[in-house]
């Protein structure tokens, strides 16, 4: 206490001395103090854009500013959000996970119990099933943050769900697991048992520290490669059942209405897609050298190839993929480009290890119509005008 005070006085004296000089030769060259919890430079201002969908708080989304980011990992503070009834404030000491239904030993786990399991970390992308919904319906967004910002990529830490379930005796009749959050609306989704016993995780860590509240603190479900909404946040209950719950968010929402009026239900996998993040909508470029860069990802494993076109899809060149290319994570691609100052249309397309090639907007509309909304994964063209302004097509 005393020492702190003395330091303060000393600083004050320094300022006084400085201001008593007529013209200081230069600013002090000694740096700032350490900080207990770091923050970025005050010169860095990129933020998530927030869009509420109703007047009730916490029913919309905030989007990752991909045009301003590097590499493959999304900083936790910029991970996208999509909630249906806000972010609850949860005391981890009181949080419990109830596991019940068709199993021999219904159990309750505290956070201490869950963290007692050997921990497991993996880098996975997470994408909202409704990312780019506007691009499909004709409400095209002006920049990559608004059109593709419901995608992020994180190193998650937790425990494989199958490990936690090992001694609980899940019955063979259990074909579904209903996962429920402790948010105000108790959001619930039904997950097929195959995924639960494959690579589903109970997650408490995000990029090396605890989950952020808006990512489900203290515990969330993580289903690698599957639509964001099914990755239930603030997880507090898992119920094993013979049938799905047919919950509001798996019937009324996150189902894909086709041209024939029928909707596909339980469409979990996010199919392969890519997007150029720089240069992209909202940028202005000058003739000369540019690195075209962006992200590619697939819910079916690894990205094997990304091609870039600068002439609206007439010709394509392979982009370089940043190593390592991890399964179910975003891949960063890069391609050098000399812009000669004439109008251009930039776009990327990716291929994944199943051989699936990212489709065009027209191909998607022809098969699915304009209103399926979810899981839209078309090639995204950006137009570069003669004056260097980059806009969406």
């Amino acid at each position: 206490m005393k020492r702190e005070r003395r330091r303060f006085l000393a600083l004050g004296a320094g300022v006084l001395t400085g201001s008593s000089c007529k013209a200081p030769l230069q600013n002090s060259e000694s740096g700032a103090h350490m900080r207990a919890y770091g923050d970025r430079s005050p010169h860095e201002t990129t933020v998530r854009v927030i869009r509420e969908l109703t007047k009730s708080p916490g029913t919309g989304s905030s989007r990752t500013p991909h045009a301003d980011l590097f590499g493959t990992i999304t900083p936790s503070a910029l991970h996208f959000e999509r909630h249906h009834s806000g972010v609850p404030a949860i005391d981890p000491a009181k949080h419990e996970l109830l596991i019940h239904g068709l199993l021999d030993k219904p159990s309750v786990f505290t956070m201490t119990d869950i963290k007692a399991f050997p921990s497991f970390s993996r880098i996975y992308f997470l994408e909202c099933g409704g990312n780019s919904i506007g691009d499909q319906s004709g409400n095209t967004q002006p920049d990559v943050q608004r059109s593709h910002g419901l995608l992020s990529c994180t190193e998650w830490t937790g425990v494989p769900l199958k490990t936690v379930l090992r001694d609980l005796g899940v019955k063979p009749e259990a074909k579904w697991m209903i996962a429920e959050g402790a948010d105000a609306g108790r959001m619930a989704r039904s997950i097929p048992i195959e995924k639960v016993l494959d690579d589903a995780l109970l997650v408490y860590g995000q990029n090396g520290e605890a989950l952020r509240p808006e990512q489900g603190y203290p515990l969330r479900l993580l289903l690698p490669g599957w639509e964001g909404n099914a990755n239930v946040k603030w997880l507090h209950r898992l119920e094993f059942a013979a049938d799905p719950a047919m919950s509001a968010k798996e019937t009324g929402y996150y189902t894909e209405l086709g041209k024939d009026g029928k909707a596909q239900i339980f469409t979990f996998v996010m199919e392969a897609r890519s997007v150029i993040t720089r240069p992209s909508g909202g940028h202005t470029i000058t003739p000369g050298f540019h690195e075209i860069t962006g992200l590619a990802w697939t819910g079916r494993g690894r990205i094997t190839r990304v091609e870039v076109s600068t002439d609206g899809g007439k010709t394509w060149t392979d982009a370089a993929l940043q190593e390592p290319v991890l399964p179910l994570a975003v891949a960063r691609f890069r391609m050098p480009w000399e812009w000669d100052g004439t109008p251009a249309v930039l776009q990327s397309r990716c291929t994944d290890e199943t051989g699936y090639l990212q489709p065009t907007h027209e191909e998607i509309i022809e098969v699915r119509g304009h209103f399926s909304g979810y899981h839209y994964n078309a090639i995204k063209p950006w137009r570069v005008a003669a004056d260097g302004k980059v806009t969406h097509v």
Binding site: V108, F117, M246, T251, V367
Partner: protein
């Protein structure tokens, strides 16, 4: 030496939680399935739900459940619109099961005071929301037996995942 062995044994035992008590499963397990499993015993009619809706729901969803544009979702209307150029997805036009309407209202509504209604109030207001959609009569009783039998207009409107449905070529 003995101590080290003991530590090893402890380190390799599967961690576990505690057994869940039947009463806490009962209290926390709120899933209502499409066949009606999980519905609590209770009852209510649209005529009883109308005043509840007026005081606890209409502020947001509007008097006839038409919602407020850009502010709150509609919970009525749109039946027959799904193949049009302006499909309107609501509880009435799109949701396949009446049990889901009950389940969702019970867990999540009213938005700002979720889980504040009694079981009979949830049955009554669910009946009223279905009535606003022309699906149940004003005096039809909704209870754990009748609700799962309500025929929703879009009951057969769902098909399994067809993807990969688009095969793009280089």
């Amino acid at each position: 030496m003995f101590r080290a062995l003991l530590l090893c044994a402890v380190a390799f035992a599967q961690p576990k939680g505690r057994p869940a008590k039947p009463a806490e499963i009962e209290a926390r397990g709120i899933t209502v399935f499409a066949d009606g499993r999980g519905l609590p015993s209770g009852k209510g009619r649209a005529s009883e739900g109308a005043p509840i809706f007026k005081s606890k729901c209409a502020e947001c969803h509007n008097d006839k459940g038409e919602g407020r544009e850009g502010q709150y979702p509609p919970i009525a209307g749109g039946i027959g619109s799904l193949t049009s150029t302006k499909p309107l997805k609501t509880v009435g036009s799109y949701w396949p099961y009446a049990t889901t309407v009950f389940d969702y209202i019970r867990r999540a509504m009213p938005f700002d005071h979720p889980r504040s209604l009694t079981t009979n109030e949830v049955y009554a207001v669910t009946a009223f929301v279905l009535h606003l959609n022309g699906i149940v009569g004003i005096d039809e009783e909704m209870n754990e037996k009748t609700l799962p039998k309500v025929a929703m207009p879009n009951r057969d409107g769902f098909v399994p995942d067809k993807r990969p449905d688009i095969r793009s070529k280089r």
